[in-house]
Symmetry: C2
Subunit: 220 residues, 2 copies
DNA sequence: GATACCAATTTGGGATACCAAGCTGGTATC
DNA sequence: GATACCAGCTTGGTATCCCAAATTGGTATC
């Protein structure tokens, strides 16, 4: 793999994994030495991550994007639009076998699944569901939105009950799709996205003090 | 303005203005000499334009993205999702004054408006309509989609009647929004987007031979 | 003690040099 | 005459150097 893709990938992992906290300053020189690359690939990586919204310019310099509650609210509306569109498109395709692949993916998760896996599974559900639509733009939109949400979802305080509810909602959505009931599936998906958003934002708002204590910038 | 933004902007103008044809090869060295910049800003510009979909990697090297008919079809579905969502959001905001600004913008165009202005006005209508929603993600999605469509719309063979129809449809959509009739507005907008897409793709498909003769790559 | 100012360092933007991979054109051999 | 092969050139990827601007830290002055 080229150095450029390597820096980009590793830096993205560090940001998404909160090894570099939201709001932290980044210097090109630090990234250079951290990954043993030179400035050109570092710059390319930073430019890419900027378009993903993971980092942003801070006057002269770079900052890991803070957790932005207003942005989280807006992303949910955006997700609702594109995910529901993708879902309806999938329903018209009548490709039930593909849906069953996702169901199997969900079923492979049980109580023994380690908690940190839930994060990835929850994200992949939405991404793979969008991929089924066959529309590259809807798919990318969902994938990019989930990437932007990733850190916030990781910080969210979720109890077992909340995880179980999300799991059940995912299954219910797939059942409706498999049954060919696009309207029900769309309604369930909308409610799931908006409900998740509300719980997410509430959780972060309540824990804002704790997050700041950990050095994480959270803006309204 | 920095050199980097300058190269990016100028190169984008050249690509969107078809001064560099779809499918044409680009070398970093050529861009360097053309704009009198060195490789660093050129690289940055190319990376940005790649994320906008205006250029794409061609193995080793760069190519101005060909006109892709399948992509145009998919973009329309994507646009329908995000534009309708933005429209409905705008309706719930009940901000009629903002709508009237767009109406004024449209009204400022009359028969004396030069033809090349129609291209920009048609694009800006959709972008500004999305901006009204106040949702940054819906707005960006529409803006980026319209950018991707820009070259194809420029190549489209449109007669006066088609232009008048588009104009009328834009006005009808705004009237529905102003009347607070979200459902009608959404229906009109969907029909407008899909109808425009079908006419666009048909036009390009029919003229494919002519486009190739001009050196423009058009893929199915 | 506060503040204004200056120098030194840091930092991102840009330019250039170098390299490896791949393409091209020509040539030599069969 | 066709084909295989090799040299040279082109090109993107990477490293390094330079520069201007901005930040910083300290000092001198009020």
């Amino acid at each position: 793999m080229s150095q450029m893709q390597n820096v980009e990938k590793q830096l993205r992992e560090m940001i998404l994994g909160l090894e570099i906290g939201p709001g932290e300053r980044l210097t090109e020189r630090w990234v250079e030495s951290r990954f043993g690359a030179s400035r050109t690939p570092v710059r390319a990586a930073l430019l890419r991550l900027e378009t993903e919204g993971l980092i942003c310019r801070d006057g002269r310099g770079w900052t890991v994007s803070p957790i932005n509650l207003a942005e989280l609210e807006q992303i949910a509306v955006y997700r609702e639009a594109v995910e529901v569109a993708a879902l309806r498109l999938t329903c018209t395709l009548q490709d039930r076998s593909a849906v069953e692949i996702i169901e199997a993916m969900l079923d492979s998760c049980d109580d023994k699944t380690p908690r940190e896996e839930w994060h990835r599974v929850g994200r992949d559900f939405h991404i793979e569901l969008a991929r089924l639509s066959g529309n590259e733009f809807l798919f990318r939109a969902v994938r990019d939105a989930m990437t932007r949400l990733s850190r916030a979802r990781w910080l969210e305080v979720r109890d077992e009950a909340a995880l179980g509810r999300a799991w059940a909602e995912h299954h219910a959505i797939l059942s409706a799709v498999r049954a060919g009931d696009a309207d029900s599936a769309a309604r369930l998906l909308s409610a799931h996205i908006i409900g998740s958003r509300d719980r997410l934002v509430t959780s972060l708002r309540n824990d804002r003090r704790g997050l700041r204590a950990r050095g994480f910038a959270v803006v309204a």
